[in-house]
Amino acid sequence: MDTKNTSIATLFIVVMALFPFVVDSAWLSIGITFLVFAVVAFSQDIILGRAGIFNMGHAIFFGMGAYTTAILNVHFGLEIVATIPFAILVPVVFSILLAGPIIHLRGDYLLVATIGFNIIFEQVLSNDIFGLTGGPNGIFGIDVVRVFGYELWSDIAIYYIAFGLLIITLFVIRNLDTSKYGRALYYINKDEIAAKSMGINISYYKLFAFALGAAIAGAAGSVFAIQYSAVSPESFNFMQSVMFFAIVLVGGSASLPGILIGTFVMFVLPELFTEFKESRYLIFGAAMVLTMILRPNGVWPAKFGNIPKFLKKKVVNKSEEK
């Protein structure tokens, strides 16, 4: 990462860290929403932006995390903090079970299959399966977070939980991008045949992308449930998946600033123009169309070249010689 990017990243983190002190409660909750959805978008970016899998059912994993926290807390009386590991694990297990049989499908076929999964998921939630999901109204009365005897009920506390999750997510993505697994996802995305011929097991790495994306989305779902103390099916329907899909493509696949911009445009901009709020899909639709025409690689396309400094030095020396 060069100095310019580092300073942009630092500025962003400082602004987000100080944000709760300068805004009112309405803006604070918009801030939380932004953070939670940014995390989900980043997790979708691992699957769609990095591995290049056309996953149109990402709201499933987000919803599974939220419902796992809600069900374990409301029906089984587990502390919220204790539900979080389950909110991560359940989506991971389901991502492998659901994606396993379709992972070899070509992009467009896989996309249709994941839409199917999302529709089934919403139906399962709405039909109060095993009396656990609460039907169309969802589940109410989720507890406040208790840590070491403290009750973290304020929006500021929840904001920092979401902020913490975003920082962890960025940390994981940075580590992913500089690892064998992360690079394998890019290779598969760019050219499957070349990747195979280098010894990369395509299905295995695609499933890995699904599992990692589902884990992070599940954690975000848990925070979402904490924020609203309630969950309901329409927050995790097909349209939500379309949103997360679009954020990645509009913002820029595998681009950290791109995903943040995408999340901002899709979820925060409609709040800025309250008269637009009723028709936020208008902005959403127009932004998608315009970006794809004008900037097919996204508003802020990703840059490659994640290589150690000692390899770059040679480049500098050579150009100085000239």
């Binding site: 992913l176 697994y181 195979k196 890995f208």
Partner: protein
């Protein structure tokens, strides 16, 4: 082990049409084996049968004595059979160094959790392979392009990146599909020297090539294919004078001239 790669009586059909017909080719370590023949003769199909892209209907492919017929491409590559492509398949938007380290995939011992938390084992493994990339870039004269997107470089350099990527996997057999296609004279000479150096490392090399000067200069043994069938095989000097080869080439000379 006398042969590193043994292709025995391999046939491949597409919708009942014969693409390759009963081919037998055996490559030794430190040998450059040329596959030549007119366009559409089935040379690339043969390579695809060896590397697992296609499964041959008949015959066996053995690598160091192990039957690899019909194995998935990544499993064949993991064993040490690496290739380049006729139409260059690089990860174009990615830097040259990132392209080459792709070849280290099978050698890297990183586990899934190293993509989440970087341990000291990760750091060691990662550094080892970047060092290898550094060496390979020096060998191929690509060091100055380390962080240049591969797609921005000349055709000749892209061919070299593909070869460096394959070598990063420490193969024992290297399969080159028309390495000189699209190269100018200087680039071809440079590449010829590189291939000779690779041979000196003890690798078996199987290559398809249309540039006859290069074939005659490089190869130790040749099989000539036409319409999927072997029409001649032997030392370059023998094949060059074989009337069956001359006939096959004269018959398609118009198409060959570009």
């Amino acid at each position: 082990m006398e042969y590193v790669l043994e292709i025995e009586n391999v046939s491949k059909f597409f919708h009942g049409l014969v693409a390759i017909d009963d081919l037998t080719i055996k490559v030794k370590p430190a040998q450059i084996y040329g596959i030549i023949g007119p366009n559409g003769a089935g040379k690339t199909t043969l390579f695809n049968c060896v590397t697992g892209i296609y499964t041959p209907e008949q015959g066996t492919v053995k690598y160091k004595g192990e039957d690899i017929t019909g194995m998935a491409p990544h499993k064949i590559a993991q064993r040490g059979v690496l290739r380049t492509f006729q139409n260059i398949r690089l990860f174009k938007e990615m830097s040259v160094a990132e392209n080459i380290i792709a070849g280290c995939h099978t050698k890297s011992k990183q586990k899934w959790y190293h993509s989440i938390v970087h341990t000291s084992a990760y750091k060691k493994d990662e550094m080892k392979h970047w060092k290898k990339v550094e060496e390979l870039m020096e060998f191929f004269g690509l060091s100055q392009y380390a962080d240049t997107p591969a797609g921005d470089l000349s055709y000749g350099n892209q061919r070299k990146i593909e070869m460096a990527r394959a070598l990063a996997a420490d193969p024992e057999i290297l399969i080159l599909d028309e390495p000189a296609a699209g190269l100018n004279e200087n680039e071809t000479i440079e590449l010829t020297n590189i291939i000779l150096k690779i041979k000196e490392m003890g690798l078996g090399i199987m290559m398809i090539e249309h540039d006859m000067d290069m074939v005659m200069k490089l190869t130790d043994y040749i099989t000539v294919i036409n319409f999927g069938k072997e029409i001649s095989q032997g030392l370059p000097s023998f094949v060059q004078g074989d009337p069956r080869v001359i006939e096959a080439y004269i018959g398609t000379d118009d198409e060959e001239d570009e």
